[in-house]
Symmetry: C2
Subunit: 481 residues, 2 copies
């Protein structure tokens, strides 16, 4: 704080010493125009002097126009005292790296239309927070703090909170994943998982295969890593294996990225036999698989098939990126990676270099929540809740959007293909009528496909879903005229 270096001398009155010191600091440029001075109370406490001396000093400073006292706000250095010499203004635009520019260009939050108030928004596929049980949350928080105390607030381990790691290992084993020679790392959700996987295995220009369309965040990260992104077209919402084989044959491919369950954006679940076929294809070309466990948790009681990581058995060829974020607590950003022990060791060091570790508190809280069985209860509720909404959305699509081709087996969204209409034209029209959705082109690696869009319904009420579909129908009709 200002004046804390200052020492009072013997004779001169205290108010004068303070006044002179502040004048010196202003004139020498240690105190800049507009900067706030500490309150007289703070100064008197700091220097252990009477508050009146301070008030007097400040009054004199104001008289001499060194400072301005603004009622209720405090004392500020007067604008008379501009910093001497020319001001130093860095031209940041000119200094931003290509990476920084690309990050801004690919930031859909900044570049896509924004949801206004009162709009029916089909943009989001975030979970409906109404399903979260606050009482359970509080109980589990208190119990983790009571059990583990202050430790939860001090540094933890890059790999993650040990009890949570152990819990998730068993969780993965229960999904049929063989953990022999494998390990698990906690990450800040899927996004960080994918970013550090790419950092650990790829360098500029490497070829990576993905479904086309695919998760926009994955495309963004592959572009930010300057990779050669090879999209394989989907048919009926799943990857075309002949085309996949062709791409594997004709390129030196480093990795393949797949979302087998309730694919984003198509919503389709890849059937078991196709999972096996793709796995064997990748095996033949020795191209390891990054499996995005996206929404797998919602599968359970509907059309579940084993994850590719489970099909791999003792093989060490699949990097599984898991996250509850799409259904549970995305706000606390806890995801995980299961992969070969040697790879996890590298990922751990990268994680440490980027942000040391995930919040210990959040991990401990989540562990408590999972362990106590609250997650199982929640999942049952969430599965039914979203399945019902999905069914309703499909019914609405059949009723109002029969001109579109509809994809999706469940989950939190459906994907639609328009009859010779650009989705962005439809979006413009829909927004005029207070409906917003995600245009499909952002999910394509090549931006060519312009007639698709994604409707997320997870957080919408039934009547808004129906109303929204109706409005979209009207907009389509208008555009068809």
């Amino acid at each position: 704080m200002l004046l804390s270096e200052f020492r009072l001398k013997g004779k001169e009155p205290i108010y004068k010493q303070i006044k002179n010191e502040i004048i010196r600091m202003i004139e020498e440029g240690f105190l800049i125009e507009g900067s706030k001075l500490p309150s007289t109370r703070e100064v008197s406490e700091l220097l252990k002097i009477s508050r009146n001396s301070c008030i007097h000093a400040y009054e004199l400073l104001e008289d001499k126009e060194y400072i301005q006292i603004v009622k209720g706000k405090g004392a500020f250095v007067s604008h008379k005292f501009k910093k001497k010499g020319s001001k130093w203004q860095v031209d940041w635009n000119e200094k931003i790296s290509d990476f920084g520019k690309t990050a801004v260009d690919l930031d859909i939050v900044k570049n896509e239309a924004v949801t206004a108030k009162n709009m029916i928004s089909f943009k989001s596929i975030a979970p409906d927070e109404k399903l979260f049980d606050l009482e359970e949350i509080k109980r589990n928080f208190l119990s983790s703090v009571s059990l583990h105390g202050e430790k939860l607030f001090n540094y933890g381990y890059a790999k993650g909170y040990k009890p949570l790691i152990d819990y998730l290992k068993i969780y993965m084993e229960n999904k049929g994943v063989n953990l022999k020679e494998k390990d698990l790392l906690i990450t800040n959700g899927f996004t960080e998982a994918f970013d550090i996987i790419l950092s650990s295995l790829t360098t500029k220009g490497d070829a990576v295969i993905c479904e086309n369309p695919t998760h926009n965040t994955a495309i963004k990260l592959m572009k930010l890593h300057d990779l050669n992104i090879i999209g394989v077209d989907m048919e009926q919402g799943v990857i075309n294996t002949l085309k996949l084989k062709e791409k594997l044959e004709n390129n030196e491919v480093k990795l393949i990225y797949l979302i087998p369950s309730y694919h984003n954006p198509t919503g389709v679940v890849m059937p078991a036999n196709m999972r096996k076929e793709i796995y064997e294809l990748c095996n033949a070309y020795n191209v390891p698989i990054i499996e995005d466990g996206f929404n797998e948790e919602l599968l359970y009681s509907s059309s579940h098939v084993s994850s590719i990581a489970a099909l791999a058995g003792e093989d060490n060829s699949v990097i599984y990126a898991g996250s509850f974020s799409k259904i549970l607590f995305p706000g606390i950003r806890v995801g995980w990676i299961v992969a070969d022990r040697k790879l996890i060791d590298v990922l751990e060091s990268i994680k440490r270099s980027r942000n040391i570790h995930n919040s210990v508190l959040d991990q401990a809280f989540l562990y408590e929540y999972l362990k106590n069985g609250d997650f199982e209860i929640y999942l049952k509720k969430a599965r039914k809740y979203y399945r019902d909404k999905y069914k309703f959305a499909v019914k609405c699509a059949e009723k109002y959007l029969s001109c579109c081709k509809v994809y999706g087996d469940g989950g939190l969204h459906i994907f639609l293909e328009l009859p010779h209409i650009y989705a962005r034209r439809l979006l413009d029209e829909a927004m005029k009528n207070n409906v917003i959705f995600m245009p499909g082109d952002i999910f394509y690696v090549d931006d060519i496909k312009k007639d698709t869009f994604r409707l997320g319904f997870s957080r919408l009420e039934y009547n808004d879903i129906e109303k929204g579909f109706k409005i979209i129908e009207e907009c389509i009709k208008k555009l068809q005229k």
Copy 2:
């Protein structure tokens, strides 16, 4: 789950249908050796059949050696059914990128000596968690959850939790920082802040100046970004400005990184006039400054001087990276960056691409804690606690380590220079006697200086500090013989 795709047919007995389906899945490789089958209870619930049918099916499968039932653990696919064909083992070592390898090589947690139980450890400069008040923590958590509810658990904003941003802006203004045309971004501590700043402004090979020695994490990140690191030697624990001018003159420097308060590792506080001098020097060469606010919070009532960010006034030339981590709740990983609005906009997009945002819950909790004045109370306590420990450590250094040159003005550590002894030799000796500390070479950009070490005392009891210093003294004497 296994069997959830399975539908019962009309006539055949149920146990037989289940048995045959599992045999098919095993033989076709959908179920791999060693993988766990769902419990008979789960299967009966899923298919809505009697549990006895399932038990019977499992018994028959065991008889035919398709599965093995392990008491108390469950049923597993028998080891007879190895996956067909050769196993797919990826050679990960061969696939790791140079970046990944460097991250492991520079990971001091992996490469430095590990603290064993019962050791007196001077390695850490983490805060002493005993100072954290659990009751305040619980109260603030509950109040933030009660106030904001489920929202805290859903997605938030990349820039951060708005009330916390606003709080920290005022906090920075109170430090004298002029926020005109500036903005604030929440990060996962200093580490992420520094990483995304480098991502936004530098590309491979760019020259960046730092103090030598400096924070090891910063060196690691600059190396991971493949930068040309130009260290400027310190004298008496602060940067030599003549040498700084020379480096600025002879290199095209992109950025300069400084830790002005309780420098890590030297512990020295850079005096106000030197801050101004360096600022003007950087201005002359138009080299923006990254100011590491490390431990600035501990300064307040001792020898406080304005941060460089405050000295800059309306200039947009300083990027300030703040964090409470060294004194408060490092486990929740909340730090921040104050910089020019245009730069923050880019950093926000990079932050979003890396991990979307910090935990909303942690930010809301921290905000509540700060807002309620608990932080001020804590800070007062913490400042006294660490100041007393620092004074004691200095006294011990004078008493036992008078052969060393001792640096440090306060904070959580002191830095020592040995008389012609390698610090790593001393460390080996000390560890034999159950004392561990941080060898100084890890803080140098060039690894040349081998006779320094850092002693962190924040979490040690007084008697252990004294005992540890005594042991180090004895080790030095032994090595001098």
